[in-house]
């Protein structure tokens, strides 16, 4: 057990681990609501209880789980399921690129686990706490990271299991798919504060509604490709049209 822990976790002091736990604790309620909704939605959507438990344990990505649920329910082709999860999860690639410098010296097993645990909230808290640290990859930073990640993982797993177990009690006409969609909107809104994202949402949304009848749920992929390209084009156009900053006058 100890050897296993040493292989996958970087050594860290107890008090920084506890600091990480304390800073994630206030968010445990929100994580649990989200886990509960996901658990109920999976079982309510028709997934078996063992299936939902296994998916929750291994996949550990709420937005990807909720996003792929309606696809799995209709037996969409697996590549469409995987690509959808990949698209939803691409934001984590940015997180990984941004926080790699703290973890880069660790052995690969520890980097792999740290990456797996680097979700939305953990990344946000860690960046706020150590964003301007001069020394990177200290044991204190690992402790804080693991502390927050532990709360996140435990709250997410337990609340999902509760949701999966009680999910069968709710009649489907109570509309838990809607609760799942609303939970996704909560991830979506904070990312939608800029003009290119708003345009992308509008174009993708309209296309997705009018291509919903396409076979094999291909409308989803088509709308994301077109909507995403429009958002990127809007961003490029906007950054070009912005006034270039005046060059700094060189000190005489």
């Amino acid at each position: 057990m100890k050897a296993l822990r040493a292989r996958f976790f970087a050594p860290c002091p107890h008090d920084s681990y506890r600091e990480g736990v304390r800073s994630m604790m206030p968010l445990a309620l929100a994580i649990s609501v989200w886990g509960l909704v996901t658990g109920v939605a999976m079982v309510n959507g028709g997934m078996t209880v063992p299936g939902a438990l296994i998916v929750t344990f291994f996949v550990f990505a709420g937005s990807a789980q909720l996003a792929t649920l309606p696809l799995l329910a209709v037996g969409a082709p697996l590549p469409v399921v995987w690509v959808t999860a990949l698209l939803v999860n691409l934001r984590f690639v940015i997180f990984a690129a941004a926080s790699r410098r703290y973890f880069v010296k660790l052995p690969w097993q520890q980097r792999l686990l740290a990456g797996y645990l680097n979700g939305d909230l953990g990344f946000a808290l860690f960046s706020r706490r150590f964003g301007d640290a001069t020394e990177l990859g200290t044991p204190e930073q690992f402790g804080f990271f693991y502390g927050g990640a532990t709360v996140n993982w435990v709250a997410w797993q337990l609340s999902s299991y509760v949701g999966i177990i009680i999910g069968g009690l709710f009649p489907t006409e109570w509309g838990f798919e809607l609760a799942a969609a609303l939970a996704l909107v909560a991830v979506l809104i904070p990312m939608a504060n800029k003009f290119p994202a708003a345009v992308g949402i509008l174009v993708t949304g309209v296309l997705a509604v009018y291509t919903a009848s396409m076979p094999m749920r291909l409308g989803l992929v088509v709308s994301v490709l077109i909507g995403g390209s429009v958002a990127v084009a809007a961003d490029v156009w906007r950054s070009r049209s912005e006034v270039q900053p005046e060059p700094e006058p060189s000190a005489a």
Partner: protein
């Protein structure tokens, strides 16, 4: 048979989804330090998740049996509107889901 009871389908789906989690979250943690994220990719990576989430949420709310359902009697539309306003104002996901579901349930029972 429901796809959820097709164990091979679910097993392959789950394995793939797990690989996606590790591949995205672990991506730059596992790549050699010399590999950097190209600036031009950042935009695409930023907007793809926004659009993918939209492509899931929009049909869930605005379609019925895969056909567009944009009508005053679409209860989910009003629930989404109420939930969106609550989230924009209070930034609280729990309140947002509760209000959205309350609006949906009220409309479902009383109209």
């Amino acid at each position: 048979m429901s796809p959820f009871h097709d164990w091979a389908y679910m097993a392959f789906a789950t394995v793939g989804l797990t690989v996606v989690t590790f591949a995205t979250r672990g991506s730059f943690f596992m790549l050699p330090p010399s590999v950097q994220l190209p600036k031009s990719w950042e935009r695409a990576l930023k907007y793809a998740p926004v659009c993918a989430l939209t492509a899931i949420v929009a049909p869930a709310v605005f379609t019925k049996q895969h056909e567009p359902y944009i009508s005053w009697s679409n209860h989910q539309m009003w629930a989404l509107l109420a939930a969106g306003l609550v989230f924009a104002k209070f930034r609280n996901m729990t309140a947002m889901i509760c209000v959205g579901m309350a609006v949906f349930t009220a409309l479902r029972l009383w109209t």
